[in-house]
Symmetry: C2
Amino acid sequence: MIKDKSARQNTRSQEVYEETVTEEPRINSGRLWDRHMRLAEIGALPRGGVNRQAMTTGDAAARQLLVAWANESGLTPAVDAIGNLFLRFQGRDPEPPPIMTGSHLDTQPQGGRFDGAYGVLAGLEALTTLREAGIEPLRSLELVIWNNEEGCRFAPTTMGSAVFAGALKLEEALAARDSDGVSVADALPALLAATPHAGRRALGSPVSAYIEAHIEQGPTLEANQCPVGIVTGIQGVRWFTVEVRGRAAHAGTTPRGLRRDALMSAVSVLRALSGHFHDPDDVVRFTVGRMQVSPNSPNTVPERVTFSIDFRHPDGSVLTRLGDAVPAVCQRAVHPCEVSVSEAAASPPVAFDRGLIETLALTAKELGIPHMCLQSGATHDAKWVTHLAPSGMIFVPCAGGISHSEEESATPEALAAGTRVLMSALLKLADGE
Amino acid sequence: MIKDKSARQNTRSQEVYEETVTEEPRINSGRLWDRHMRLAEIGALPRGGVNRQAMTTGDAAARQLLVAWANESGLTPAVDAIGNLFLRFQGRDPEPPPIMTGSHLDTQPQGGRFDGAYGVLAGLEALTTLREAGIEPLRSLELVIWNNEEGCRFAPTTMGSAVFAGALKLEEALAARDSDGVSVADALPALLAATPHAGRRALGSPVSAYIEAHIEQGPTLEANQCPVGIVTGIQGVRWFTVEVRGRAAHAGTTPRGLRRDALMSAVSVLRALSGHFHDPDDVVRFTVGRMQVSPNSPNTVPERVTFSIDFRHPDGSVLTRLGDAVPAVCQRAVHPCEVSVSEAAASPPVAFDRGLIETLALTAKELGIPHMCLQSGATHDAKWVTHLAPSGMIFVPCAGGISHSEEESATPEALAAGTRVLMSALLKLADGE
């Protein structure tokens, strides 16, 4: 790295972890926290959470705010065909592909203030601190905001990164529709309008390396009182859609013996699935998060019930064995109704780059920040970027491991510790160490 | 009755039940059937059903069509403050309160072509036939279209008749909101605009007697191969709303042991309720027709599940005993979540007027139409009219007893047989026999 004349003086650390062994520019942890709070006002919910689903007006407003901050730091915007946004800090050598960091700004319908936002704001803070310190990295650095990570409004999850990495066809993503029938192709222009001066970036453009910071969304770091996690990989996931079909009938007149009640059969199927996925070690993750009843009228026996299955496991063979049995388990329990099961999405377990894991661990050690290695329970955009470049992730703890909830919470100290590791690792990679 | 010069000649019956022992004007069963088919085009669904919920544009269009037909028959329209529509066939003596018949034009979200529509069109056919036959009854006859019988869009069911009979406050009904937040007060003007020339009718105006024709919506008449049912009463009903509250959490990261999954707890509660309401005789009607999951996202553990209970029984003491135990049954099964139960509506069993039941049975006998007495499993507007006047109902069979379903079906012969009994009974009552 090269420092120019305007580089600020490093002062004695005010952080929790003071045994800093390498000289580093100081991130502004107050600004980092304030920006989280400011961003959380867009789509704010009454109990402190955020509803800022992909490609809504809130999502576009969040981008505008982010780009305004990035402008102040001299970052240059570009967008690709699926609406991913790239903010570039040009290196001394413009030739090599960028070192990339980022995450997403969209949230769950009742999401928290840190899921996604942290990775974006940590990246922004890292790049901003380096600029302010007058550091000119050899390779370019880029902050990326992946479009539609949550996949709540438009399935699948991690849509933007999957399209960028070539794992999902652009046309398929553009054709996805929300529950009101609006397609991604319909909704995307309003999001892109938030960055009218952005250049164009080709899908699949080369990347030198990728690091994503994120709250853990699980209980491990907190339980171990560890401020930073180095992520070794992401467990695999299979999504299924189950449709139970019965017959609508009048609630007041139809004897139980003549009913084909889709909801009562769905209850039997759900109990059978609960048993099927039950493991004493509590490693399997089995969730039915979405359910629709039709016609959903109090005085009509339900004709049709549709529900989702989200099944995850770190072991690919368990994913195959338990997942493949889902249709048979449903079939055995559905009488007197009928059932069909389709697989909506699948992604095998992912291992992050060994070299990058070592770089991140070494960086944390150099900064004197306690850290541990762990597996990610949640899926992240980093999963797809592994198709293009060495990729890795940094986790910070969140209260109670709770996420996808308005109760989601993290401390300014945790956010700052992860950002320090991120910034130093980015600089290491950019300067080719 | 008095016949005028234009009375049509009675011809030999073409009906199924030919042993007519009294002279009667002939209803036009072809017209009756055709009007059902024509009405079913408004809100038609792909599989032959109808979605024409209360106070929608479809509901208004159905009224316009009905009033056009009623105009041809010289009936005079009036509306009351909750949107019930009255179509009057003035008697020779305008003083006594009218003999009333009717039902409703609104349907379930996935309803059939006969539920409600039959009672309206049978009444119209009866009054039209009497007009065409030149008969001038002593008392006035009135066809009533009760507003919002189904209660799907705006709770409760039988709203219009309940308000008319003084069993539900007008202000309370006007304040009811649909799931989009639209109130009855907001939606009513568009319905009333369908009858711009209607006079005003006061709520609770006197009625001499009321007969409602309806499809049975149950299997009894079909099983007994009986074309006409004389209804002795309506079983009682209690509606509950159950809310299960857990905690939202990330589907990929949260171990089963740390979850408070509202859907999995709701499944336990539903199983417990199924057991609670299970009776070997299959007389209890227990239905969970509506369920909402929140936030309803595939990768979030559900935070809240709300569902409806529709519980019916002919015996008031059973309604009390099983219904009162619902909160405790839910409580015992909901761990580790929380539950609250509220009673949304209740109506005790209703017995129809003994004299009117006898009149209807005698009329059917005189017409040579086989009939039987039975209890109604479904609630009907007639329930509330019992508060104002002697009331009764005529049922006709529907295929498989299926109703509140697109599969709902009835035969032209069944519709005609019920209409013949209705018309003769109305005339008997109007002429004071």
